[in-house]
Symmetry: C2
Subunit: 421 residues, 2 copies
């Protein structure tokens, strides 16, 4: 069986490891995650890796492609200080997830190692494949718990977070077999790291639209998430003349269209009003209050910040003109993270060997690579996904595209080896 | 104590008769409604009326101002076939209601009779004051149950309706002491009726805006209530470029503003989107589907119908342009009901005696008068309400305005008597 088909088969197998019968949901430190770690570790070992699960529950496979001195390769239990390249992605999922978001990157990493071993390729560095324990943040409403521990940016305060059942994060780590007191020791030493390559489905329609199997991520977009409330005056839908209304939903409608208009005319900007609640919410009552969410993303922080300012000003103007009150707050803000230019340049050479065109695109979604970029040069390879659908059971990628991705990644590793020598 | 103050006091007393402790809720055939009927009947008798509760639970006070032949006035139990003028409104309320919506009209009717009796005024017709058992339709989700029985437009199928506790309307009528099989006999004979005058708070801000105590209703607006659904495509807020979106909420926003614009430029039209639900409703997901309600009202059916057609066309255009699907249905439609021109003309003469200006305005809300107009000329007097607020504990009217309303109504009765002679 060829390697891409094997990856597809493993992704199907992993998709059956779930915390919820009938649909794929695999959250941090859950029973399904334990089974997934066990199975993936088996695949890692079959590819020639030694495996460990760190204090957070991240699964790491270590592959020593060549011993420095011709002796037996250093054991994972006594790792050499030789430099290493990280490959990986996450093994947790959202609720009712697709099969590819996360696992595809881990399976591709294992397959790369399998190829190196099969071809007896000697490398001047080790490879570690990481299956992060939490990227989606479903269970503790805080994303990137896995990569934050490896990158040393995990905040111990998070340990007090509780899940829906009231179990603290610290307790969940212990139950899973980890050690909440040793998270610091799980941090990877940046001076041993050559970089981090994450393969991931695009979760968008761009590659499909350009008819390309893979693309190179330029940056992981920064994000502003805000809540906006328009406060008008509820009133009887039959007895309040139009001229006397302070309709919060009409104000919100203006704001939604202004947001769309700005994003349409600003290249690379995406802006979304995803949640809207109109109160009191009766067909015969004028909406007196509307709460909505605004999600703004761009690969350049300055553009995102100007857009946010412009929309804020616009919201105030709408409220003022309509004699409404307005309230708003930024609830979440992350800066854009640029991918390593050097590694992306190398990856571009590899892509060019496998595909007619090298497309560079920003990632609108967050990824572990954004966290890993804090300690090592990070680079991402996007794989085309069907209809741009993600976080849904219909999420899908083609074996043929996975084959291209595997070829690109294997080529990249060889180029990095050459550059390293 | 003057009559207006007495009305205000009685309204306060009635407001304490409720099915829900701490707030005013008095629904059809409930224990609170029984107590309210009992108390109002006492007030009716104190004003010189004989009282009965009909088979539906409507409370009716009969006042024979003058016997045709100088003998003892005909008893309510053997009513003369002499013509009669109906005054009234409803005694039921919405949940967490204001005090004035309904009771004010009944109290004004009783006060008119009290004045006639005090002044020993002789009239060539009887007066009946009606406290309708159900106008709001809270308990059985079907409005005007009381006036429909008196007007003979009640549909016996309604008897099968069940309330939230599973009690059928027929059973509720029986428990209350009525007779679901004798509802037809409760119908008033149109040939004995001179007309129906209902006083009611405006439930809107028009009179307050014009600084007037009362106004005359030209018509009760017709209404179209529709559901509209825009069906686009949900997608990741970070990874879906603006040009590739089918955002159902942006389409809905366009429709909301188009609706507002049309209503603003069409005199007398009110149009409201009161309910809106955006799915899936996550801040980081493009809304794939939006359901909303449309409420259109106008005193002229032709204008309301053209507005509805124009908005329907507009919704289709928006959906087509944005490549969305659209679905819609009219869930409720009522024709406008014109008030009697003759009685309104008479009422205008009375208003002119008490107030600097006669303002005629349509009623955007429905009233028992719309049903009574089916069997007798109906006319309505609106009383200014504070900030246009209704269906809310803050609903309020001034004693001074109630005094004006009482003067207008008493004057109207005398004018009608003169016209009748």
């Amino acid at each position: 069986m060829n390697a891409a088909k094997k990856i597809m088969q493993r992704i199907e197998t992993l998709a059956r490891i779930t915390d919820e019968p009938g649909r794929l949901t695999r959250t941090f430190a859950s029973p399904a995650m334990r089974r997934a770690n066990g199975l993936v570790a088996k695949w890692m070992r079959a590819a020639g890796m030694e495996t460990r699960v760190d204090a957070m529950g991240n699964l790491i496979g270590h592959f020593e492609a060549k011993s420095e001195d011709g002796k037996k390769p250093s054991s994972i239990l006594h790792p050499s200080s030789s430099p290493r390249l990280l490959l990986g992605s996450h093994l947790d999922t959202v609720r009712n997830a697709g099969k590819f978001d996360g696992p595809l990157g881990v399976m591709l990493g294992i397959a790369c190692v399998g190829e190196l071993r099969r071809k007896k390729t000697q490398l001047p560095f080790a490879i570690e494949v990481v299956g992060f324990a939490d990227e989606e943040g479903v269970r503790y409403q805080s994303a990137y718990l896995g990569s934050k521990v490896l990158a040393g940016s995990f905040d111990a305060k998070e340990l007090r977070r509780k899940d829906a059942a009231g179990i603290a994060l610290a307790a969940a780590i212990k139950i899973f077999g980890g050690n909440p007191e040793k998270l610091k020791s799980a941090r990877l030493d940046p001076k041993n790291l050559l970089g981090y390559l994450e393969a991931h489905i695009e979760q968008g329609p761009v590659l499909e639209g350009k008819n390309l199997a893979v693309g190179i991520v330029t940056a992981i977009a920064g994000q502003t998430r805000a809540h906006v409330t328009f406060i008008g005056h509820a009133g009887h839908a039959g007895t309040t003349p139009m001229a006397r209304r302070q309709d919060a939903l009409c104000a919100a409608a203006e704001f939604i269209l202004a947001t769309e208009k700005l994003a349409r005319k600003t290249p690379g900007l995406v802006a979304t009003v995803g949640q809207l609640k109109a109160e009191p919410g009766a067909s015969n009552v004028i909406p007196g209050e509307v709460k909505l969410t605004l999600d703004l993303r761009h690969a350049k922080d300055s553009i995102r910040r100007s857009a946010h300012l412009a929309l804020k000003k616009n919201a105030f103007q709408i409220a003022h003109r309509r004699k409404l009150k307005i309230d708003g707050e930024v609830v979440h803000e992350t800066a854009a993270v640029a991918c390593s230019e050097k590694l992306s340049g190398l990856l571009a050479l590899s892509v060019r060997r496998h595909q007619k065109k090298v497309l560079r695109l920003p990632s609108g979604a967050g990824h572990d690579a954004a966290i890993m970029a804090g300690i090592t040069p990070a680079v991402m390879l996007f794989i085309r996904c069907k209809n741009g659908i993600s976080h849904h059971p219909n999420e899908s990628a083609k074996a043929e595209d996975v084959r291209v991705a595997l070829g690109v990644m294997s080529d990249f590793i060889l180029r990095l080896a050459k550059a390293h020598e």
